[in-house]
């Protein structure tokens, strides 16, 4: 038995996507269940933990708390859209090098929050970095290496990368 679906279109990682969705579906479900982009993850279902963070028109959002229909016609960037032809984004590289990830479940969301921050503020202080991550919970790392990774990526990015 099939429930009512409606067509929407949006740009995901630079590609225009046309897909039929249920009005009740969130952006998170659209990405995971319809487009198989599993980097956005369900963590809390209450707009808190940030495992589902993606970028919507250039700013970070919790995709569990956006209806797919609210993303109609807008630009979405997910973790899958960061590496360019096999070349990791400096943030991704820094997270690996600095050991800023352990179980890795929250990492995509945190990297996207960091990307949103750096696109606005290229050289943030540690305090600013931490403030920008309050919508992202990590249970493994204690955040120390996450902050270090973001700081070193900031330097790299200013050095011209991307």
């Amino acid at each position: 038995m099939r429930r009512k679906r409606v067509p929407i279109s949006l740009v995901v990682n630079g590609e225009e996507v046309f897909v039929d969705i249920e009005p009740r579906q969130t952006l998170l479900e659209l990405l995971r269940d319809e487009l198989d982009l599993t980097g956005a993850r369900r963590g809390c279902e209450e707009n808190f933990c940030g495992a589902c963070t993606v970028m919507l028109d250039g700013v970070a959002v919790h995709s569990c708390s956006v209806l797919a229909l609210q993303a109609q016609g807008r630009k979405v960037t997910t973790i899958e859209g960061l590496a360019t032809n096999g070349q990791l984004h400096p943030l991704q590289e820094a997270f690996v090098e600095h050991g800023a990830l352990q179980c890795g479940y929250c990492s995509p969301g945190i990297i996207l929050s960091a990307l949103a921050l750096l696109s606005e503020e290229p050289r943030p202080t540690e305090e600013k970095i931490r403030d920008s991550l309050v919508g992202n919970t990590c249970r493994c790392t204690g955040y120390v290496k996450i902050v270090q990774a973001i700081q070193s990526a900031a330097v790299k990015m200013e050095g011209g990368a991307l």
Partner: protein, 288 residues
């Protein structure tokens, strides 16, 4: 797990109100959705119709009118306000307050009007809007009405909005010349609601308090202006005795709730602590 629903996109606030009138309990207004969608996930509310006002022309705007008041459309997000040069310059209290709302992800989509309509006692903006003596433009089937924010919050999670009314716009009058403001929030994690949030506006002259406005959220099921406390300060220097008296009066006015973040007793005690701190913070700024 969100239940099946229909997503409606009216072209005007009036249309939205008409849809509310038509579908009643079965419908809910959605703007940023930052409070509503988590409730849909938990199936606490299961509206058959979601009425999105996001697409309505003009509801997203932030502008200054001729009287120098700030007009905030119902769909203006925390982030757009917090970053607006006009707001930062003319209503620093608002900018200061909105920076303390939850997380960037939520501020990027959440709306100020949404905060008011949900009327969560721990939400940050109400105290500051009370202090700024903002007014709400409410659109219903029989046209518009204006309501002071002071009369907007009625009970726990309950507002003065009729079932078929839409909050369309918030008007914030210009801040009196020379008035200093501060919003102090007490919570244990940035993501948490305020255990106590205190907004203060102070006008000082020759070391004496000419005018004081104090409002609180978190402290009571409904955000409130601490008018007795305000009166206790007017005409006096902000010495310890008067500040203590004011904070005591603000505390007495509250009917604190217990919740996971604080017991009623603790909350009550924090009211006086943070009213003092907010007054001192504003006083500092008044000096400059």
């Amino acid at each position: 797990m969100i239940e099946e629903l229909e997503y409606l996109e009216p072209a005007s606030a009036e249309e939205a109100a008409a849809l509310l009138a038509e579908y009643g309990d079965e419908s809910k207004i959605i703007a940023g959705g930052q409070t509503l969608i988590p409730m849909l996930w938990q199936r606490l509310v299961t509206p058959r119709y979601l009425i999105s006002i996001k697409g309505i022309e003009g509801l997203g705007t932030i502008e200054k009118d001729r009287q120098g008041s700030l007009l905030i459309g119902a769909c203006a997000t925390h982030q757009s306000l917090e970053k607006s040069p006009a707001v930062r310059e003319g209503w620093p209290l608002l900018a200061e307050t909105l920076q303390k709302v939850a997380a960037p992800q939520i501020r990027n989509l959440g709306t100020l009007a949404g905060d008011l309509c949900h009327s969560d006692y721990g939400a940050d903006p109400p105290a500051s809007l009370l202090v700024l003596e903002a007014r709400c433009r409410i659109v219903g089937p029989d046209g518009d009405r204006w309501l002071p924010v002071d009369n907007f919050f009625l009970e726990l999670y309950g507002t003065a909005l009729a079932p078929d009314e839409v909050l369309a716009q918030i008007e914030v009058p210009a801040v009196p010349d020379g008035a200093a403001t501060a919003y102090v929030k007490y919570c244990l994690r940035a993501m948490d609601p305020a255990i106590v949030g205190v907004a203060v506006m102070l006008s000082m002259k020759d070391g004496r308090c000419q005018d004081a406005r104090i409002a609180l959220n978190g402290a009571s099921p409904v955000p409130y202006r601490a008018r007795l406390a305000e009166e206790a300060l007017k005409g006096w220097p902000l010495n310890e005795a008067h500040v203590d008296e004011a904070s005591r009066l603000a505390q007495e006015q509250a009917e604190p709730m217990s919740d996971s973040h604080a017991s009623a007793e603790y909350r009550s005690r924090m009211i006086s602590v943070f009213v003092k701190r907010a007054l001192r913070a504003a006083e500092e700024r008044a000096r400059i």
